[in-house]
């Protein structure tokens, strides 16, 4: 096993009892990245540390996204005034236990983190016009109790189905539990036809909870505008394509679509949102 210490601290943060919010780059609807970027932008997050990639990511070249060469990044930001630490990273492809412990080493030893929140999205078969829900999975009964005052679904039952593996968020929550760090995994179900696109409503749902819970006093007017614009775009797609309207109508009436219809709806919505109207 490698004995290299993978953490680089640029500047020691001055935090006494902080909260950590973690988002992974490649998740559904780009939710983790969008939420963590939003927090950093609004709360003036300052980068202060990173985890070196060599033990955790395949470095056999670079990926190209949006015409730009990408490189795996795992960075910590601090929003000192709000006692908030933001961690933004791609999902590691190896040495997960070491990677997640490195994240918690920074959180515990450099940020005195008292609790952590992970961000995740899951597919929903409901229409985009239905309000987004927020589900929470916690790593202790005490943490669940603390969350009782918030608008959250807190009674999820789940077991990994055969052939699948737990999420990185579940792995992190478990390690946090072993280290006595209260942890909350936040999940927003996203309409399946927006899973590959961005969903401003889902972002707002998570951000609103964090805002309330961590007392961040964020002005969401820009995000509200994005939500309005997205809803208007989807409304235009419905009025222009009766087939899309029919599918979404049926979802709004809690009717299931066939697999073929699902595929068609996804493709038409994605094409419409990508090309603009």
């Amino acid at each position: 096993m490698s004995q290299r210490y993978p953490i680089r601290i640029y500047k020691e943060p001055d935090l006494s009892r902080s909260s950590l919010v973690l988002g992974w780059s490649e998740d559904m609807s780009n939710l983790g990245r969008k939420v963590t970027c939003y927090l950093n932008r609004k709360l003036k997050g300052q980068e202060f540390a990173e985890i070196e990639p060599e033990d955790f990511f395949s470095l056999g070249g670079v990926a190209i996204e949006g015409n730009l060469a990408q490189f795996p990044e795992s960075k910590f930001y601090t929003c000192q005034e709000h006692e908030l630490v933001v961690f933004q990273s791609g999902s590691p492809g190896a040495e997960w236990y070491k990677f997640l412990n490195s994240v918690l080493d920074v959180a515990e030893h450099h940020c005195r983190v008292k609790e952590l929140y992970t961000i995740g999205a899951m597919v929903s078969v409901s229409a985009h016009t239905a309000p987004r829900q927020l589900l929470a999975v916690v790593n202790s009964a005490e943490t669940k109790e603390v969350l009782s005052q918030y608008d959250l679904t807190r009674d999820l039952d789940y077991q990994t189905p055969p052939g699948e593996r737990p999420t990185l968020n579940a792995f992190l929550l478990w390690i946090a539990k072993e280290r006595n760090i209260p942890g909350v995994s936040l999940w927003v179900p996203i309409p399946f036809y927006l899973a590959a696109m961005e969903d401003a409503q889902a972002q707002k749902k998570i951000l609103s909870f964090l805002d309330e819970r961590l007392d961040l006093e964020i002005d969401f007017s820009d995000l509200d505008r994005e939500i309005r614009e997205q809803n208007e775009q989807l409304a235009r797609a419905r009025s222009r394509f009766p087939q899309i309207d029919d599918y979404i109508n049926r979802l709004e009436s809690n009717l299931m679509l066939s697999e073929e219809e699902n595929g068609e709806l996804i493709k038409k919505i994605e094409d419409f949102l990508r090309e603009g109207d």
Partner: protein, 303 residues
Amino acid sequence: MGIKLYQEPQIENPILIAGWPGIGNIGIIAVDTLRGILEAEEFGEIEPWDFFYPRQVLIRKGVLEYLEFPSSKFYFKRTKGEDIIFFIGEEQPTEGGRLYAEGRKAYHMANLVLDVAEKFKCRRVYTSGAAVALTHHTTKPRVWAVPNSESLIPEITGYRNTVLMSDIEGRGGHGNITGLNGLLLGVAKKRGFEAICLMGEIPVYLQGLPMSYPKASKSVLEVLNYSLKIEANLDKLDELDQKVERRIEEFYQQIPLEIRGQLDRLKQVTDVQPAEPGPITEEEEKRIMEDVEKFFKKRGGGG
């Protein structure tokens, strides 16, 4: 990270038998069946965190209850003959998306297993796996035995239904054992343990199917029974074999008649005189392999 022993069993110069999943799960079924028959007692494990990604999470009423990892456990059994330590790994630690273990993690795990062997002064290590062979599923699988020391060859030649690599036509004593079932043999050699890998034959056309091949596990266990002078009752494996056999037959009937005709000729390769060249010529062997590969490619499955 490392070894966690729950107790220190009083065992004398035991032998260690290790098994991991592999082709047809031949090795692990053999080792785990013997462990079950002998009612070996669990006494330790290799901690999984650094080797494996968890395989299951259980969330109840919103609270994460547990995360389950593939296990790597040690068991022991005192017998009238040999004391035995079993090591059973539910998964091979892989890196970079490979199917079988190789690299740092595999080497590290092999060394941890042998650390336990050393602690209890094991006198020999057995591993077990699969030998992909030009055989037919209706014939009794032979066992290919690969020792890590010259001095073990005379003993192996006394085992029934067992062949050395030099006995396999066209191999000239050479070959390759992938994954930990093979690596452990090499690391044992490096650390001065004598070790033998016993590989049950699996027909070439079954190697990519997601099903076990207990018939070969039984052949391996018969060799272990003989070698360790134990009399483990292997009826349980026969029951499992009958179930699997039905599924294999169903699959076999789906193979196009022309290819099946070629494969049927493999029935003539028996275990009577394993060292002799079979009734299939080299050219025919090549053609069978090509046909089988073509069939699996068309089917879109492994093979």
